[in-house]
């Protein structure tokens, strides 16, 4: 069993690799060889994955981490797993708690609901431009990327006109085949840009989240840079891929598309189901055991790495019967796509609204929307740490 390694190549674009689905049918935990030679674990069962994410005995600190795939292996060694200040995603409690509590008030359900009219305006403006432009169009370029990008820029107070300064670098960060030196350079460029922006906001405050954090006085400029980095990058690559891949999934499943068109009140459930079924987080998360932990009858030894295969965990028939099927009428909440435990996605309520508003506007405005190429010609993001489509040529 120790010859098991993690891969991202799939037999079918909307299903996780068959070998991991087969493993889940055999049991929730499996021995897996990590890219640095470490012998750790892969979790394929829903209950076990949720238990690991909720358990403080499993750490997310990078100095304890082992990489499940070779991407950035050399870089990880060279950098000696240093966490930049403010990078709270890679901290455990109680260090993490301080940052999370400073930010969570900015991302509440109520505050995010207040953004809905503005998000709708942004979505409509994207569709106006798309309709006025040429057909076929690339839905990623025209719609899926600009909506979350504009929204997170406005929320943080990052000038959208500067987007070419971080969108290309963001792609390098998420590329599994990016060279280590290029990743370091991209991180440095984004951090330098954000540090400069924070200096500027100290002199000229705006009405935005970064200004609020600066005026709160709790964080140093270095910490603010780390926090802004996480929010900007996470706000881009996640929802953009859900909008792109979700549209691909609906356009290649006419029955589900028709169900959603016929009954727009299904939208909230459809968003949860697309999050569950597509699970764009297809590599990890990865944790490390801080002590021996018994999990479903197996002991994970102190120091061992545990990779959670969320795409197959989210289709575990013990939790989601018939989970391999996309069913927009299914109650899909409880999926692990946003994680679970203290690191559960800070921006999830924003992401839900962006998807709800985005899919609804797209279906309403372009009733004849369809793929402009055969489905198998759509380039899939098996080479990126977040799954999705690279491009989605559509017409209407």
């Amino acid at each position: 069993m120790s010859d098991l390694t993690l891969t991202t190549e799939r037999e079918r674009p909307l299903d996780p690799p068959d070998k991991f689905t087969e493993l889940r049918e055999r049991g929730p935990l499996h021995r897996m060889r990590y890219a640095d030679g470490h012998l750790g674990w892969l979790v394929t069962g829903y209950a076990a994955a949720r238990a690991v994410l909720a358990d403080p005995r499993f750490s997310n600190r990078p100095e304890l981490a082992h990489p499940p795939i070779p991407a950035r292996l050399e870089l990880l060694k060279e950098q000696q797993f240093q966490v930049p200040p403010g990078f709270f995603l890679r901290m455990d409690a109680p260090e993490h708690t301080r940052y999370r509590k400073l930010l969570a008030g900015q991302f509440t359900v109520r505050r995010m609901n207040q953004l809905e009219p503005r998000i709708a305006e942004i979505a409509e403006a994207c569709l106006d431009r798309m309709e006025a432009g040429e057909r076929p169009a690339d839905l990623v370029e025209e719609f899926a990327l600009p909506i979350p990008s504009l929204v997170i820029c406005e929320l943080l107070g990052v000038p959208y006109d500067d987007r070419e300064r971080f969108q290309a670098d963001s792609k390098v960060l998420f590329g599994l085949e990016s060279e280590g030196a290029d990743v370091v350079a991209a991180m440095t460029r984004i951090s330098t840009f954000l540090y400069g922006l924070i200096q500027h906001k100290r002199a000229e405050p705006g009405d935005d989240l970064l200004t609020g954090l600066i005026e709160g006085g709790e964080l140093t400029d270095e910490e603010l840079t780390g926090v802004a980095f996480l929010l900007l990058v996470a706000g881009h690559e996640t929802t953009a891929n859900m909008l792109g891949l979700g549209t691909y999934a609906l356009l290649t499943d006419p029955g589900q598309l028709a169900a959603l068109r016929d009954d727009p009140s299904l939208m909230d459930d459809a968003v949860e189901e697309l999050l569950r079924h597509l699970t764009i987080i297809h590599l990890g998360p990865v944790r490390a055991a801080l002590e021996d932990v018994e999990l479903e009858g197996t002991v994970i030894a102190k120091g061992e790495a545990v990779t959670l295969h969320l795409p197959v965990a989210n289709r575990d028939p013990a939790r989601f019967p018939g989970g391999d099927r996309l069913d927009v009428t299914r109650p899909a909440s409880g999926h692990l796509t946003f994680g679970h435990g203290i690191h559960q996605c800070l921006g999830q309520q924003l992401a839900r609204i962006e998807m709800r508003v985005g899919y609804a506007a797209l279906l309403r405005r372009l009733p004849g929307l369809r793929l402009a190429v055969p489905p198998e010609e759509v380039p899939m993001r098996t080479d990126m740490s977040i799954y999705g489509v690279h491009r989605l040529p559509v017409t209407w």
Partner: protein
Amino acid sequence: MKIEADTTVCIGAGMCALTVPKVFDQSEEDGTVVLLDPSPPAELEGAVRRAVNLCPSGALSVS
């Protein structure tokens, strides 16, 4: 049904406020749970149990 919320554990994910907004809200300060109705009526019991189960931090309990 009686709900208890531990705001020291809560991380402000908002799953409770999303699931049963009549019973749960969030602090504007740090996003942590605010109980609008610690003893909700019987017809909300199922939804409250769903919210407790969805809570990522284990901050909610019912008795």
